[in-house]
């Protein structure tokens, strides 16, 4: 889907982490008010809202929006597992692009730490529990084992990506994980083994958090915030699984890795952009080996070239194509619904030139990618006006 005439008016988020004393609505209110302030708007300016979360509770989005005010605006729930935030943004962008709204809000929140309790009932306690309690780590470890078999990839490659993201997080005030020292490959490899070959430091934490992005017609954004660089969402692609040889019929909640290639291709075509045009990228690095696969599938190197990209440090800050400059899911965190909007938050800071010590020089274009269980994949592209 190509997006024309839509700009980011404002962004806000709550630093991801553990908030046992705060409700989802409380987290959502803080993110929403921060975004409205950044947009120089109030809720009365917002024509329509799309609220995302993946907690297994109905109505939460409507309740959270009431924290911001009672203006009668249309509110729609959006849920697509880990891809929820970027899909809420897609709907908010289309509502503006279609002309039915001038200002829209994408708001997402989650408390993954509550969900972790829910999943702890254990394998084998009932018919519905058996499959769902295979850990996400296992699904992506299955990719990692096959990659090592096919390409000679070593755990050191995965560890180097994880260490990079931890060290990016150290430079980001909104990152959950902010190590006080340079994280090394050796440290990552020495952390606890979760699922062969993935260790604890190669995995994202379980987080609580909220994030909000306000979109509006480009002319309105320029009028409200004169002189500030304007960031435009220019394309959003969303796909579910397509049948192909090797399709896994029974078991997985993650789709084939190739779903990322097809979805990225669609987004690039819609935006008339290619991988060579992109200045920085964000991906679903819930586990470090995923990021390695996505270097290829998003088109930033040829098939089989991802290991070399890691060895060259091309995806670090200062490298040819920095990935996950805010620490990614591994360091910045991954509450679920808000994750995609946190990516957009960082993209907006980078393209405005407000990213401080992790600023990518003269960043003009960015890509955000997420996969979601079930499964789906989404890719959004952004550029500075």
């Amino acid at each position: 889907m190509r997006i024309d005439g839509v700009a980011v008016a404002g962004v806000g988020m709550v630093r991801f982490g553990r908030y046992p004393e705060r409700s989802p609505s409380d987290l959502a209110r803080e993110a929403g008010l921060t975004a409205l302030h950044d947009a120089a708007m109030t809720l009365a300016d917002v024509d329509e809202a799309f609220v995302g979360y993946i907690q297994p509770s109905p109505l939460l989005g409507i309740k959270a929006m009431k924290e911001l005010g009672l203006t009668g605006l249309p509110i729609t729930h959006v849920e697509n597992a880990s891809a929820t935030g970027l899909v809420a943004l897609r709907e908010a962008a289309w509502a503006v692009a279609s002309g039915r709204a001038r200002v829209t809000m994408a708001l997402a929140f989650d408390k993954m730490t509550d969900m972790a309790g829910g999943a702890s009932r254990g394998r084998g306690t009932g018919r519905d529990q058996i499959d769902t309690t295979i850990l996400p780590a296992a699904y992506f470890a299955l990719w990692a084992q096959r990659r090592m078999h096919d390409r000679g990839t070593r755990p050191e490659h995965f560890a180097a990506i994880a260490a990079k993201n931890w060290n990016h997080g150290a430079r980001c005030p909104l990152s959950h994980r902010q190590p006080d020292h340079e994280v090394t490959v050796e440290e990552v490899l020495a952390s606890r083994l979760i699922a062969e070959p993935l260790t604890a430091m190669m995995a994202c934490p379980a987080d609580d958090g909220a994030a909000c992005v306000i979109l509006a017609s480009t002319d309105l954004v320029q009028q409200r915030q004169p002189g500030r660089p304007v960031v435009l969402p220019v394309a959003s692609a969303l796909q579910s699984e397509t049948y192909s040889p090797g399709h896994t019929f029974l078991g997985p909640v993650v789709g084939p890795a190739t779903m990322t290639r097809d979805t990225a291709m669609e987004a690039y075509e819609d935006a008339d952009l290619g991988p060579d045009d992109i200045d920085l990228a964000f991906c679903h690095d819930a586990f470090a080996n995923e990021e390695l696969e996505y270097y290829e599938l998003l088109g930033f190197c040829a098939e089989g070239g991802a290991e070399r990209l890691v060895e060259e440090g091309a995806t670090r800050l200062g490298g040819r194509i920095p990935f996950n400059t805010d620490g990614g899911l591994i360091a910045r965190g991954h509450p679920g619904g808000p994750t995609g909007l946190a990516m957009v938050h960082e993209i907006v800071l980078q393209l405005r030139g407000e990213a401080g010590e992790r600023q990518v020089p003269d960043a003009r274009t960015a890509l955000a990618h997420l996969v979601g269980g079930g499964s789906v994949c989404t890719v959004s592209l952004f550029r500075r006006a």
Binding site: M112, T113, A116, G117, A119, S120, G122, R123, G124, G126, R127, I130, T133, I134, L135, P136, A137, A138, A141, L142, W143, A144, Q145, R146, H149, R192, L193, I194, A195, E196, P197, L198, A200, A206, G246, H247, T248, F249, L250, G251, P252
Partner: protein, 85 residues
């Protein structure tokens, strides 16, 4: 066996569980479909490309008293009495 892993931290965000680790694999059936499931065996028992067979395991009764059975894959072991076990 197309690919496999062994999960050492058994439950999501929990470390105090009494459930032991378990293997997870994706197995290509002779007819074509690839199936993901739990593996029988320890962390050193698996490798990509090895031949697998299906096990049924009784978990116990559900609320209605019916048996709940799950499938697991396990490596095909040495021939017994001239036939594979």
């Amino acid at each position: 066996m197309w690919t496999w892993t062994y999960v050492h931290v058994p439950l999501f965000a929990k470390t105090d569980s009494t459930v032991a680790g378990y293997g997870v694999g994706q197995v290509d059936l002779p007819e074509g479909p690839r199936i993901q499931g739990i593996l029988s065996g320890g962390p050193d028992d698996f490798s990509i490309g090895m031949e697998m067979e299906l096990d049924l395991e009784l978990l116990g009764p559900d609320r209605d008293g019916d048996d709940v059975v799950i499938f697991r894959f396990r490596p095909v072991t040495a021939p017994v009495d001239g036939q594979q076990r």
